[in-house]
Symmetry: C2
Subunit: 327 residues, 2 copies
Amino acid sequence: MLTETTETQVTNALRAAAARDSVTDIFFVACGGSYALMLPNQHVVDRESASITGVAINAAEFKARAPKRLGKGSVVILCSHSGTTPETVEAAEIANAAGALTIALTIAPASPLARVAHHTIVYTHAPMTMTADHSPAILYRLTFGILAARDGNGKLADLEAGLAALPALVDGAIATSKDAVAAFAESHKREPVIYTMGSGASFGVAYSFAICILQEMQWVHSAAIHAGEYFHGPFEITDFDVPFIQLVGVGPSRAMDERALAFAQSYSRRMTVLDARELGVETLPESVAEYLAPLVFSPVLRAHADKLADAKGHPLTVRRYMWKMDY
Amino acid sequence: MLTETTETQVTNALRAAAARDSVTDIFFVACGGSYALMLPNQHVVDRESASITGVAINAAEFKARAPKRLGKGSVVILCSHSGTTPETVEAAEIANAAGALTIALTIAPASPLARVAHHTIVYTHAPMTMTADHSPAILYRLTFGILAARDGNGKLADLEAGLAALPALVDGAIATSKDAVAAFAESHKREPVIYTMGSGASFGVAYSFAICILQEMQWVHSAAIHAGEYFHGPFEITDFDVPFIQLVGVGPSRAMDERALAFAQSYSRRMTVLDARELGVETLPESVAEYLAPLVFSPVLRAHADKLADAKGHPLTVRRYMWKMDY
């Protein structure tokens, strides 16, 4: 049972990463919604580091793939909300056996994952807000913290400043989205299919909304379409009555999102657009604003999910399989 | 205009990769169906190399992400069927400017991509067969060839032997699937949604079937679900009337596929299963069989697509946007 504060847990994990002989790879390993949180972290490592590689990978795939680079130069960051996901616990054991440093995020400090990982960080779960103690924020603090210690990356202070500004920014974004959210829920409550679309650091949150909210919690068919992939297959499914939720980020990926949006808006009358610029993301420190966009999209999307669930009379907590049987 | 044979083109590209001062990274860059071909190559590099990293990435995302590791130690392998995909041509220019070695696959030796890349390889396009000159085979020959030259990997001979056995194996697999394919087409011709599922080296072909065949060429809603992700969200969409095409591979990822299949089969009456074992993939050299499974699934899936198109009266060549407008 962990008794340190989250701050101390983050500090201790980063200290351990800084003390390693070498760090050549960061593996971001989880399943489902937790895996979706890992995707922007691979994005950050790709964007920011010339010496360290980042790979986000599903925990079962990690076991099957058995990456040959996994070893003493690896930091393996894992996340399981309950700390009981068997694949993720097993991935931590595999990583430990390979000599990697393992850092786990969970809400359950006494869980199997917390017992296996070298370091555990307990995060705050409150889906309609975003603080520096929420899981996506902690993951960024770890990633930028490791890049600062091992690679001279200088953006950690901007990240911390951006995270400090997020709670108020998110409250404001949800408040100003209120009417749009209500209109979305009413007009989509009978849709059998709703696509999501995003790119860059925000693709993960599009994926998460598709698989965890729409498919899992609302039994609505869905797929996350990468905005850069849209024109190479998926765009042919676009029609006047096909709904898309389009995330428009900031930074270099914005052009991809805008191109997809311009096309989709011309042929679908069912577009829902969340624009990071309109949600205030550009008021955050410029060096990290593109990375923080999904941390604003996530709670605003959750507001959409809550209202959609109300309109459908299908609470987000209903499941037909999960928690009810072995699988 | 290239005049060498495909063999000479592959040999020359591999010679250039072998002659580099260092190779630390292979970037596999393309869009849509060509991007899908890249995914198993990242898988191979992850599985096989301790010294080289592999990243499969959409070409527009590659430009926006601007990976910091891209440089003189990089080989960038690109693919565009027509050789005209603007994002992929631009990615080749970016890679050249960074000092990387660029190798392009296309069917069009006089195309913009062929003009930009240092080396171009012209592949054979015949979707119902599979030879060593098809694009997924050439990509593996490049990947294993680079790993042989730079990393001491010893599987190239097994790969070549496996590829040599594929044409007959694929012809046989399509012939024995004939009745199942016809039954699939008739029973799915009015389905509005068909999911695909796969994992490991075969996830890419599940993705390709979802976005290029179902969404693009048949206007059927779809998503590729990773078998390892299925239990963490998507499985809640499963019901008696929800169709899935499940690819079951060989090697370490098979357990993931089997677990997903066992669950899905219990709750959906609309499962279509392609099992690499039943298709004869285990007769191929064991060290590369898991990688060759998608090269068998791909033409067998194309047989399904052809029959589905017939049953729907919707030819695979019909488009509403592509080739008809600028986007």
